[in-house]
Subunit: 343 residues, 4 copies
Amino acid sequence: MSNWSPRDPGSIGVAFLGAGRMGQVHVRNMATIPNARPIVVADPNPANAAKGRDLARALRASTDPVEAIGDPEVEVVVISTPTDTHAGLIETALRAGKAVWSEKPIAQTIAETRRIVDLWRELDIPVQLGFMRRFDPGYLRAHSLIERGELGRIEQFRALSRDTNPPPLEFLLSCGGSFLDMSVHDLDLARFLVGEVEEVHAWASVLFDDRFAQADDWDTSVIMMKFRNGALGVVETARHSTWGYDIRTEVAGAAGKVIVDGGQMTPATHLRRVAAESDLYPDFSDRFEVAYRRELEAFFENLGAGRPVGPGPDDALETLRLAVACTLSWRENRPVRLDEVAG
Amino acid sequence: MSNWSPRDPGSIGVAFLGAGRMGQVHVRNMATIPNARPIVVADPNPANAAKGRDLARALRASTDPVEAIGDPEVEVVVISTPTDTHAGLIETALRAGKAVWSEKPIAQTIAETRRIVDLWRELDIPVQLGFMRRFDPGYLRAHSLIERGELGRIEQFRALSRDTNPPPLEFLLSCGGSFLDMSVHDLDLARFLVGEVEEVHAWASVLFDDRFAQADDWDTSVIMMKFRNGALGVVETARHSTWGYDIRTEVAGAAGKVIVDGGQMTPATHLRRVAAESDLYPDFSDRFEVAYRRELEAFFENLGAGRPVGPGPDDALETLRLAVACTLSWRENRPVRLDEVAG
Amino acid sequence: MSNWSPRDPGSIGVAFLGAGRMGQVHVRNMATIPNARPIVVADPNPANAAKGRDLARALRASTDPVEAIGDPEVEVVVISTPTDTHAGLIETALRAGKAVWSEKPIAQTIAETRRIVDLWRELDIPVQLGFMRRFDPGYLRAHSLIERGELGRIEQFRALSRDTNPPPLEFLLSCGGSFLDMSVHDLDLARFLVGEVEEVHAWASVLFDDRFAQADDWDTSVIMMKFRNGALGVVETARHSTWGYDIRTEVAGAAGKVIVDGGQMTPATHLRRVAAESDLYPDFSDRFEVAYRRELEAFFENLGAGRPVGPGPDDALETLRLAVACTLSWRENRPVRLDEVAG
Amino acid sequence: MSNWSPRDPGSIGVAFLGAGRMGQVHVRNMATIPNARPIVVADPNPANAAKGRDLARALRASTDPVEAIGDPEVEVVVISTPTDTHAGLIETALRAGKAVWSEKPIAQTIAETRRIVDLWRELDIPVQLGFMRRFDPGYLRAHSLIERGELGRIEQFRALSRDTNPPPLEFLLSCGGSFLDMSVHDLDLARFLVGEVEEVHAWASVLFDDRFAQADDWDTSVIMMKFRNGALGVVETARHSTWGYDIRTEVAGAAGKVIVDGGQMTPATHLRRVAAESDLYPDFSDRFEVAYRRELEAFFENLGAGRPVGPGPDDALETLRLAVACTLSWRENRPVRLDEVAG
């Protein structure tokens, strides 16, 4: 079905690129996947590379990702490097005939993303992007209810995300703005759960952290959207939260509704002073621990079974167009139709 | 069907006896019942009587309950006086041909209770006792699920009650012990939801308040029970709670389970410091506000419609036997079969 | 403080106008208010009037609301008549020197509402409008947390309302559109909990019921709003729900967040087939039963104590301006600043 | 501190014994532990052994557990074999100077367990038993609240466990009875959270599955307990559940209460037909997935850091005495004091 297949579906050689903070999470997860055989962990920082090698029980460490991609034992490349390197490394891997799992986004511009989508279509090699929420048990249950028609025709979509702590200024200056960097997870959910969007209007403000203003960015935003199927939606985003990681997604239809939320972290309730208290997840990495594990597991399971993988570069491109439309709407303070944004 | 019927089912004359703290709750509730026509509110304390009259919009106040019962306009007597007056006032009302709603218990001894049951059977006049939990929407839903067979054969019963504040020592000295005074609500639920009990074993301790020891009573207890239908149960009771009123009743069967609990008082949740907080009910009177309203409403609805009322004196007697068996079990530290306790 | 005061604060004479479906709810609630003395219940339908009189235990019934207002025993007029009669009856009552509680809205046009506001200011007589949510324990708790500064500076507001069943076409044709008729409750909450709004953008669609199209109305809508204090908000509205009455209001600030939701109707949980199920409120009148009771109680408590009442006509006018701005935004598909809508 | 220390705390050689159903869960978990170096997986069934080797990425497989223990590279033995082999393999490992993690119980008799406790004390080598609930985030939070004094003096303990499916008859015939086999988890919690028990009384019945009667066992039971510190407790156990795995533990004190329950499996809620539905965990292995991972992680973390491990053989012995006392109480239908059961 594709121009790639594993030599041994039960033992697929892997190069892992990028062993920083989130990279180490992915490395640990990879170590538990039965048919992933870690060959090399590469990171420009030798200490990270060595640490990644040990966590992965890989054969070797490297400070050169391109060299790692080229290792003849390597059939799959897992990319968890800084955002501005994704497109280049994906391209290198694809041209070397290696399947790819990469953290999102492919790139911050539509042109660059388009280029990778075209290459992927031409070479027909499996690529999966790290929209981990699609592998969260909560969102999977929502998706399944919707697919089975339990909600009837979808009428409303609502997604809220509040990150616990804002990123450093240096990161803000290069992240492409909060619609691309953060709201994008909810925009992907909108497409995953409801379908393609026709028009958006976005408002944004700097309410609590002036560094966002310095970066010509915003810390709080709201997006209104019309879907092609007629449903109406909203996406609310804020970049800090003093009560832990806060997400909530609601999809309502003619026959029912499903809600996915932040959940209770610990199945314990403390009663005192005429109140019941339960804890919340401190941060997104805690809330999505299982999703991070599942997205890599599913990738290797599907590669091993010869099944398609996804979400792929085409999904990444469509979601990027949505984020770009929101940014344009905010900058020009007007509704923007998706067909204004070239794909 | 009975030796009592209202002159006008849409306007039944009522004498209300006892307008203290809980009495005023009942008076207010009575004022909203369409077919209850308040004639007289009686309380030995003239201020209470006058306050009750105003709250009830009754025709007059009285300091003499017996005189109030005798008023020819009065067809129904509602009794919310101190416990040791219940049996006498019920008897006076029945002998005067008036229907009766009375706070529980009828009396603290089986002999005195038995006497009222016999009189009630002989005269065949409607009497309802104030086991208000049977009118709580939560317990009604549990009862309905069980009656419809949704739980299958019942296997387990568990009831916990923690009152917020212990009563004053003076009350403890005359209340008959905590199994009669407090556990009795859960013992009534056991019978309401599961059925008759065959054997009990009870343990009790003074853990936090020495006044209970002074009263030869206990502040914390646990009862183990076998039902005639084979199910096993436990009843846990404590007489203080620093986190508000705490109840929880669980009935588990072969096909399902139902839980009734204290509930959330206010439909609001406060998120802060990585926790979600919702409030609990401060006290039993808050938690059972609706049940107190419904038990009187149902009584007058049923009287007006010529339907039977309940729970009646027979239920009060059976539940008292259960409480007496628990007390005996605790005092002799051994399992006690219900048939050891004469009815 | 005002040009009105009760003759006897403990017994205030009341005329009750309109004893239809919701009217009967208010009548029953009034019957439980200690210092409300029901004089007359008026309804053009004699059967409703008589039923209302009985429920209120009022002295008499009438088919003429103006006659009832004029009764010299009457000091307060409670209005629960069809919407298009509110302004006229409020005016009649005010000119007769009677205090007023009226169902919202005063009127569907700003001009007519403005006229009543001016008259109310001129005569200085207490008037309260039926925005019952402000008396719901959940919203009161939210308001109290915000007032005490527990949430810090407010950053986000979100309100969702889904009614269970759409109204009949006849009603739709005269209700002024769904922003005025239904979203108005959430617009009032936005002002109650966060403050005045500066700009709105609203989108609306007919997604499930063509009768809304016939009435030039919509069944599903979303409003985006900027508050004067910088906070961003959304209001989502839908006019049917197959899962019961569905509301949820979230206010998030720099220090915390509060959520008010539909709540669990019955404190019972049913476990079966690997799931826990709890019930929801069937309709708004069930969910807000306590709020409907509290709004009238508070009105009479405040009248009796010589304290101000509210929300008043000025609140009704400001909220109407917000609903009108939303309607204009939707019809012209553009953001509308509140100062475009004359007050 | 002990007669055992790892050669390299960052890479400890492990033999894994028993790769059946639960064994494979433990093997997978071990594969993610950074300082565990899998040497050999042994199982009498060669297919299981090979599967375990692959899951663990171990150097080799074996069908002989004793041979595996003896491998000079092996410093730690992880035992997940059938119950009746535990004591023997623990002894072999200890005598070979290897640290041990073993599934509970050590043995079904006090004498055999006592023998291992004595050996463990004599040799002073780390041994940890698989009471995984002590590593569940819910129970850890409960334990931490209690240790910090947040609950005040403990007054009440309650634990409920319902397994989803009863075990096969063959297993029942050799499991030592349900107090030893299943209630033991709650008995361990009683000791972990509240302290030592002074007296128990247990009742048990066969209510739904006659195979339990064939095995002279029971499917439903209730235990009443007095703790040495005065607190009262109950433990309820049932061996089937049609609504998934059902646990709930409550500890109430003078100052507060903590509840640990089965939790919501998926952070998704489905609203339809006037009800909200959330899913439960199908079985104990799903509910305690994290606890199974954490108990092994903590074992290796502590071994690597030279810290003590636990719960150890002494805890296993004390909890076994409690289960034996319950069994005796049930067979003789009388309260049994713990000091009647030799340790």
